[in-house]
Symmetry: C2
């Protein structure tokens, strides 16, 4: 498939690394009970790693949040069935092929991959979680994993997060990782996470995957609660292009290794330690989600949308997403124009209650519109300077209630079109 | 505001006229009871007409369909109130300023414009309909209409549709008109329509406006029925960028002049002549709606999306719109790639029932995917040739039920970004 992606002669060449990328990959310690390894299986890419194997000690629990797409990939179907059990011993992730819309052969590929990993790792296929990202509709040749997975099991070792984050990338311009430490009684537990995605979605080659690892002993139902609640204001509050993937997968693995250091099992949602743990989880999820927005295809601006004064948080989310997915708002921000008219349009089309005559709009703290009309006092030069910044906060106050929400997105540039349209089949 | 729209040095220059434009403006006869005139009021544009006045004989009925935006423009609010009465003597349309998000001054501008037109045309302000399109958030200086409207009333004459269609354009690259003739008993009535829009919406300068004129004698409630039902599969089935405008306005005026030729009043929905009339109305609406899609900002391909086998027509519409608004599908079509994977993604995210293993997808009649996987028999060379055509029909069969729908859109190109992002404030 690589041959299909030839830049046209007049192609806009996307940046090698997003200008919004963090300066470097973060320091991330090993998580006791987790070993990882990567390899080049030649699924699609040449000269780079494209398979990640993570091995977990016995007793590791797993929880997950999967795409709500009605046409999910085969590995998503696989994970959905395995998550009911809540136990994990291995995770296999490949990039280059999403194993989506592949029918029976796709299901066969997941079964073969899990069987290979189970044999190599001495566990049951039901304890193997799978994720794939890359092109849709091409059969995944899982037989290519045969020798590779054996080697990976032999090579697996703790703490190789940077390498792991690299192996799962597709159109990403930088690997994404984040870590947090949480004090639970006398001990400290570690939470490490990696993610990929350069669209929340970009189905040919940019689906969102994220994996979180902790040594805390957490029961599956509690882990699911941490994930389900944590994702709402982090990954679910990011949009690059509004195109929800067939393969979005977020999995969290808790090895329980910290039990050896005196951390007792966290088996109930009512456990008082959950608040601290949730804070740590949310910090890792939020950090990774922001990195995904920073690597939005063609992005030159990170855009935070804050909606206040809506009738509910849900209404605020819907309005914020309407703004964040509006091509006209996104192109205006790419053009460094504080075009509040387009923001009004996006508020109006969201379908939630809005009163034009109470609406106020700010760009990077400067109020440009107030109570249904242009703010007579705003300083054009100050707004122009503010819009040149790489990070734009767009705030809308509706003046109706106490509903507030925040989402992250990026601008819409010609580079996005180049990445997604400048090729011939 | 013109000064704000300076192309950047590296700007992609949009086409002077859409390559998808009709060869010429159609032949359109006068409609008895309607006179029109245009003028240059200098609202925003220099060297072109920007005001349209249409005058209607006494007894003219009016119906309308207006934007569902929660932040409608002042003229939309004005029309909504006037349509309750169903009587019209004049229509004033200006381009260059949408009179949207203009607060009290916006309401004042509509009142002043209607008063000026009523005085000049010797009717009541309540019988004047208004529409504005152009920049949002700038006060509309309605005082500029003062002398202009008097002149327009003097100059108004029958059948100047091409001129009228030109005066209401903004970023449109060609004026849009369509006509139909309907036999009612022994007489023939005429239906003429004009429209503008180069996005179904593009709030800074490309809102959708359309005006239909007929000499048939139609009661307001019947006219409203014709419009409400007609718009569903025509204008409401077109999307350029998913951004619904603050100002979308479709008005139909029926002068009743054909009564003099023996056409008796059509006062009830049960009138047997309604079927023929509906056919004529629908033809004009569909023709204008397609012209809007053909003038989509930056469009190089006209894209028809057909969804079959859905659980209902409503489900088919939602899936078709999900495909039509997907930036990844639209950029793939711009790239002349029959990327069915992105179509699967868009079907999956629509939220309606879909079964991956029953899904089939065609591009210009060539089946590329069948029953949940790539069609093994498809001819790559034939697909490549088909995708080079300026008109693409993308058909999706879900295999679930009898729900079918069709929407029109266009591709997403760098020119769209250039039109909407290549300027600095």
């Amino acid at each position: 498939m690589d041959a299909r992606i030839k830049p046209a002669p007049d192609a806009i060449v996307p940046a090698a690394v997003s200008p919004l990328a963090p300066a470097s990959f973060p320091e991330m310690p090993p998580v006791a009970g987790v070993r990882v390894a990567t390899a080049a299986a030649g699924i699609r890419y040449a000269g780079r790693t494209d398979v990640l194997l993570a091995l977990f000690d016995p007793g590791t629990t797993v929880a997950g949040v999967l795409t709500r797409s009605k046409c999910p990939s085969a590995p998503v179907d696989w994970c959905r069935a395995r998550l009911k059990r809540g136990a994990a011993r291995a995770l296999v992730v490949n990039s280059g092929n999403a194993n989506a819309f592949t029918g029976k052969s796709g299901r066969g590929a997941t079964e073969l991959t899990a069987a290979l990993a189970a044999t190599a790792a001495s566990c049951k296929p039901n304890e193997v979680l799978l994720a794939s990202t890359g092109v849709i509709g091409e059969p995944l040749e899982a037989a290519k994993f045969a020798g590779v997975i054996d080697e990976l099991v032999g090579a697996a070792s703790p703490g190789r997060w940077h390498e792991a984050a690299n192996a799962i990338t597709t159109t990403d311009t930088f690997p994404k990782g984040a870590a947090a430490f949480v004090r639970l009684g006398a001990s400290v537990v570690t939470i490490c996470g990696i993610a990929k995605g350069a669209g929340m979605i970009a189905p040919d080659m940019g689906t969102l995957l994220s994996f979180i690892f902790t040594d805390a002993p957490i029961a599956p139902a509690v882990l699911q609660n941490l994930l389900r609640r944590g994702v709402e204001d982090t990954f679910n509050a990011v949009t690059i292009d509004g195109d929800t993937s067939t393969s979005d997968t977020l999995l969290a693995f808790a090895t329980g290794a910290a039990a050896a250091r005196g951390v007792t099992a966290i088996a109930k949602i009512s456990d008082p330690r959950l608040a601290a743990l949730r804070k740590g989880f949310d910090a890792v999820l939020a950090n990774l989600a922001e990195q995904v927005a920073r690597d939005g295809e063609g992005a030159r601006k990170l855009v935070e949308i804050i909606v206040e004064g809506a009738t509910s948080k849900k209404a605020a989310r819907r309005i914020a997403m309407s703004i964040a997915n509006s091509p006209l708002v996104k192109t205006a921000i790419a053009g460094e124009d504080a075009n509040w008219g387009r923001v009004v349009m996006a508020v109006g089309k969201a379908g939630e209650r809005a009163d034009r005559d109470r609406l106020s709009i700010w760009f990077n703290g400067i109020r440009v519109a107030h109570k249904g009309a242009r703010d007579p006092g705003y300083d054009e030069a100050a707004v122009t300077a503010a819009m040149k910044k790489p990070e734009i906060t767009l705030k809308v106050a509706l003046g109706l209630g106490k509903g507030r929400d925040r989402v992250l997105t990026c601008d819409l540039t010609k580079e996005y079109i180049a990445i997604n349209g400048d090729y011939r089949s």
